[in-house]
Symmetry: C2
Subunit: 351 residues, 2 copies
């Protein structure tokens, strides 16, 4: 049979526009069979291939610029060694940091991570992961609404949930932040400064992680013998939060002396609202955030907030998914949070 193959291992041919070399090309160049190439490059050759042959294979692979065809490998193995990370929004710094943590652990185990930013949870059940049409082995989903969860479950893939209700019976393994405790810390911090009229600027987002925040604040106020904080909903957006703050500060009755915000972005808006009314922060009104975004130390005054270990939750999430893929159980995790007191909160004004 005629062999039009001209390249007899003469020299490197990187990215010359031709087709990519396969393991068979490497085999030909090294004078061995394709199986041997696979063994050597897959590091499974101890005691089955001589040192000299292995070296020859590696040299040939290097010369040709061989890179394995990942689609073929995935097909053969029935696994892609890739995880999908579903997040509600990428523009929120928190999720970018979660990704970084997940990628770190994945990398250490030879796994990849692919991101799918889903504006509204996830898409229709038929094709939950719209534009991320990549073959994946498992899913890590962060801060998903309940109906979105159902759509993901349909995929039949191993699943780990981040920042989601851990008490669903038969639900997927969860990795959570101690969000409730974090907001208790904030509330106690404000109470400790003498504040008795606290307005709560909450995000109008129907996810577990935001729902528990309100419960925690209310419970902590009740424990101190105070009524629930007036709660103002707002989109997770500076302008909406500004309006909510203005509404809270101009509502009938005695003016709140503190604005407890569920997110740093809301806190930034709250600061603008307070200033628009001529109030000074923190002398006239204290403002607290939640997240410790870069934004929070860019503001003036710097924001009292709660630091979220975003990278850590990403690491734990990936670790849990790897456990699932290996057939091991993934016990639930809850990570502690720490209050970061800064300049935007101070003692309540007298009067």
């Amino acid at each position: 049979m005629p062999e039009p193959d001209t390249d007899a291992g003469s020299g490197p041919r990187p990215g010359a526009g031709g087709t990519r070399p396969t393991s068979r090309d490497v085999a030909r160049a090294a004078g061995v069979s394709q199986a041997t190439v696979s063994l050597v490059l897959g590091d499974k050759w101890r005691g089955r291939v001589s040192e000299r042959t292995a070296r020859a294979v590696r040299v040939a692979a290097g010369d040709l610029g061989y890179r394995p065809n990942l689609a073929a490998r995935s097909l053969r193995l029935g696994a892609t060694r890739t995880a999908l990370l579903v997040v509600p929004a990428l523009t929120h710094e928190y999720f970018a940091r979660v990704y970084a943590g997940a990628a770190e652990v994945a990398d250490a185990h030879g796994f990849g991570v692919v991101l799918y930013p889903s504006p509204a949870g996830v898409g229709p059940a038929r094709d939950p992961f719209g534009s991320a049409r990549t073959a994946i082995d498992g899913v890590i989903a962060s801060s998903m609404a309940a109906d979105a969860l159902a759509a993901i479950g349909d995929g039949g893939l191993p699943l780990v949930m981040l920042d989601s209700d851990p008490d669903v019976p038969g639900g997927p393994p969860t990795v959570n932040l101690a969000v409730a405790d974090g907001l208790r810390q904030v509330t106690r911090h404000l109470l400790g400064l003498g504040h008795r009229r606290v307005a709560h600027i909450a995000a109008d987002v129907d996810t577990w992680t935001f729902r528990v925040r309100t419960e925690a604040v209310t419970a902590e106020l009740a424990a101190a013998g105070l009524p629930p904080a007036p709660r103002r909903l707002s989109a997770l957006d500076v302008t909406a939060a500004r309006d909510a703050a203005v509404a809270a500060l101009t509502a009938p009755g005695p003016r709140p002396t503190a604005l407890l915000c569920d997110d740093d972005i809301l806190a930034a808006g709250a600061c603008k609202g307070a200033r628009a009314l001529g109030l000074r922060i923190p002398q006239d009104v204290s403002v607290s955030g939640f997240d410790d975004l870069a934004l929070s130390s860019a503001l003036d005054p710097e924001l009292t907030t709660v630091r979220l270990p975003a990278e850590s939750i990403g690491r734990h999430g990936m670790t849990a998914l790897l456990a699932l893929l290996a057939g091991r159980p993934a016990p639930p995790v809850e990570l502690p949070l720490t209050l970061v007191p800064r300049a935007s909160t101070a003692s309540a004004p007298r009067g």
Copy 2:
């Protein structure tokens, strides 16, 4: 190193009733051959399969919950219909918005987009895309340093560069923002307000998009008969920018009346620095940014800045890559920028 976890996808999954159905299972259920299933589900059956048979196939596929094996499809087609978007950092809102634009166009063409956030451009040449080990058809790379570009080029994949030097002979197609013009607009804005002593807070990042900013500012000042602005380098970081601003404002000689910043993040730091010195913005010193991040309207006063059409550059980038993949040329693109004057700049103080 966990070895025996390779059979992750092949184990029987309780919810799905065994292993995932293949096109052959669908064929069996519908009483046709696998080839017919492929034709029907691939929408290539017009005039080759009867309406009735096609319907039967679709019903069977739906009943079984069939989803094509993407690895097998990619192997067969030699293409993955997936693009890789390489960005320097995800925590910067700009890149998240670029992604959104790229994903929009990709989706409309049945393509997927996978993100690879590369802390330092890209990784070593051997495996440029570290944790994003997914089979891809092409690359869109944004704001890459020169050496990183070389590593990407080695991949031999179609490549589109965003925010990169368009004048490299034989270089890849580029999609750019008119960054130089944007900074000229800012400079003229400040000159028009009477500022004659402008300090330039620049990012210490060796990429084209930041290099041209300094050139543009210097050229525009020279055109007005002014010496180059004292330039202070800073990491792309609030604290570093704060220090740079303090240094600029306390340097020997007459104090600058304006701080021209290459990025909104730098501007946020500059504001903090100015305030730390007891200066009011904009009465004592004007501050301008660049990007129009959400941050810029969260600051107080709101930042004069330049709006970047991030989604648009993502859309154009993906469009260019699709052209390349179709064998068509991708002419260079340059998108115009618009100045957004807000409250952080005002007339230069007299004296």
